[in-house]
Amino acid sequence: MKTLSSYQSGLSSFFQEIGEMGRFTGRYFRELFSTPFEFREFLKQCYQMGNKSLLLVSVTGFILGLVFTLQSRPTLMEFGAASWMPSMISISIVREIGPVIIALICAGRIGSSIGAELGSMRVTEQIDAMEVSGTNPFKFLVVTRILSATCMLPILVIVGDFVALIGSAIIENIKGDVSFTLYFNQVFAALEFTDLIPATVKTFFFGFAIGLVGCFKGYNSKKGTAGVGKASNSAVVFTSMLLFVLDFIAVFITDIFYN
């Protein structure tokens, strides 16, 4: 009986959280299209999320390209299809692996950062102070961060994909004597708009999800300093899960429209 009630409690709190997140999203869109717009804060957040994540994304992408090529090469060699390596790597990275891996990396870095920052502001009553001083904290803190994450993630993914392809080209050049020109010729011969456009579009949703969950968890943080850590942690966990759900939906829709 006790277990059942705990399940009911957990389920109701889950739906409650989903509902609150829905309201939070609705408020975001309302605030987004109302003046004034905090452009300076938006640029600052873009810099924090974009430029500060660039090194992490680049290193991750480069290693991703290297490792993916090194792992795939023996299998393709076994089938006598080593010449298909650029096509396979490029389609895999551009379509799926690049956006998902880089989004997960950004969820870890950006999501946790937003959750911790807003959570600490909430527990130290800075957000309340902003409300008292007449500043709209939601517009200043939440809208700018979600919009920055939405805008910067596609750019980070594009750069990450490009660096991953360079890493793969280096391995192909070393292991298979494939020139960079030939490699990128084969990459662009294999890629179609149906690979690039849906993959890029879904990164906007990934960025939006990272910003939204991070802001929601941080903005609604409670229970003192422990709540900050919890907000930060749950932001990363929930975002990661949400990214896979969004990816599935994106692939499902792409499959309906393009195949």
């Binding site: 640029l43 810099y47 974009g50 430029n51 750019i155 594009i158 179609e192």
Partner: protein, 328 residues
């Protein structure tokens, strides 16, 4: 304030870099599909497009010159394939070229190949032209043929199996060859004989080589016979004469045979002479009589020399003889 502007510059660089990479990607992919360049729209009509899709490459002499734009049914047996071809490449493609659909490798996607023809010169393709098409053997057709070949191979192997089983069980000539021990022994002996013959032939050839090596081709008759080309005609004449002579000898021997037959037959004088023993006795008697008659005739002649009527004649002969001796 300065820090903010530096941050904005860095952010701007990142955004511009990302947009450039994205734009380049879009450009290269679009360029591959002839979306940005100047292109010519031409079409071709096929009965079967073998899975060709919009966006597949169009190749001219193996070079990618465009992409398939659209595939549409004209009626239940004709499918129109529209293709975009680079203006630059289009200036080289003649409008009597042939379009065909092939597979790009065994498991690759389909490609539309434009094949140049060796027919009379013709103008290059223009916007809206329709190229003639030829249908190639599709993979399914190849597999069907391969299937038939496999069935035939299966029948052949079945027959071969029967033959080998028969041979193994000793049936037929081949079975005898393989199973019969006597025959095997005979074959073995034959092979041994053959070996011996070969050995003898080798020895003979060695000796012959030795003889030929000893021939002085420049000074000996054999050398002359073997090496002098001028003697060829003489030999030819000699051989012809020999042939004539042998023909004549043959005729003579035939005549002699006939003569001998005639001789052996009881008719004719010679057979009488040769075979009749009483005749021989008579002949002996006659010869004795002739000898005696000759002897008496000589006596008569000697007596005649001493006769007064003929003495002068004989003395005249003696004087003439003496005169001739004296003159010599």
């Amino acid at each position: 304030m300065k820090s903010n502007s530096v941050q904005n510059i860095k952010l701007g660089v990142l955004i511009v870099t990302g947009l450039i990479i994205f734009t380049l990607g879009v450009f290269f992919i679009g360029n591959k599909q002839n979306l940005f360049g100047d292109s010519i729209l031409v079409s071709s009509v096929f009965k079967n497009v073998n899975g060709l899709q919009s966006g597949n490459n169009v190749r001219y002499s193996g070079v990618n010159v465009g992409t398939v734009k659209e595939i549409k049914f004209l009626n239940d047996t004709a499918i129109c394939v529209d293709m975009l071809i680079n203006r630059e490449a289009g200036n080289l493609i003649k409008n009597n070229s042939l379009a065909t659909i092939n597979s790009d490798g065994l498991v690759g996607s389909m490609v539309l190949n434009i094949l140049p023809t060796n027919q009379a010169p013709s103008p290059t393709i223009q916007e809206g032209d329709t190229l003639a098409s030829i249908s190639q053997v599709a993979t399914a057709d190849m597999l069907n043929t391969l299937n038939k070949t496999n069935e035939n191979a299966a029948l052949l192997t079945e027959d071969l199996l029967k033959i080998t089983n028969s041979i193994n069980s000793g049936e037929g000539v081949l079975g005898d060859l393989l199973k019969d021990k006597i025959l095997a022994k005979n074959v073995q002996e034959s092979v041994e004989n053959l070996n011996e013959t070969t050995r003898a032939a080798r020895s003979g050839m060695t000796k012959l080589n030795g003889i030929l090596n000893k021939v002085d081709y420049e000074n000996s008759v054999a050398g002359l016979l073997l090496s002098d080309s001028s003697a060829q005609n003489s030999f030819r004449i000699i051989i012809a004469d020999l042939q004539t002579a042998s023909t004549q000898i043959k005729e003579i021997s035939a005549d002699l045979g006939q003569f001998s037959n005639n001789l052996n037959s009881e008719k004719g004088a010679l057979n009488y002479v040769v075979k009749d023993t009483s005749f021989v006795n008579q002949l002996d008697q006659s010869m004795e009589n002739i000898e005696e008659a000759t002897h008496r005739f000589n006596q008569n002649m000697e007596a005649l020399k001493h006769n007064i009527l003929f003495r002068g004649y004989f003395r005249k002969l003696e004087r003439q003889k003496a005169r001739e001796e004296k003159q010599n």
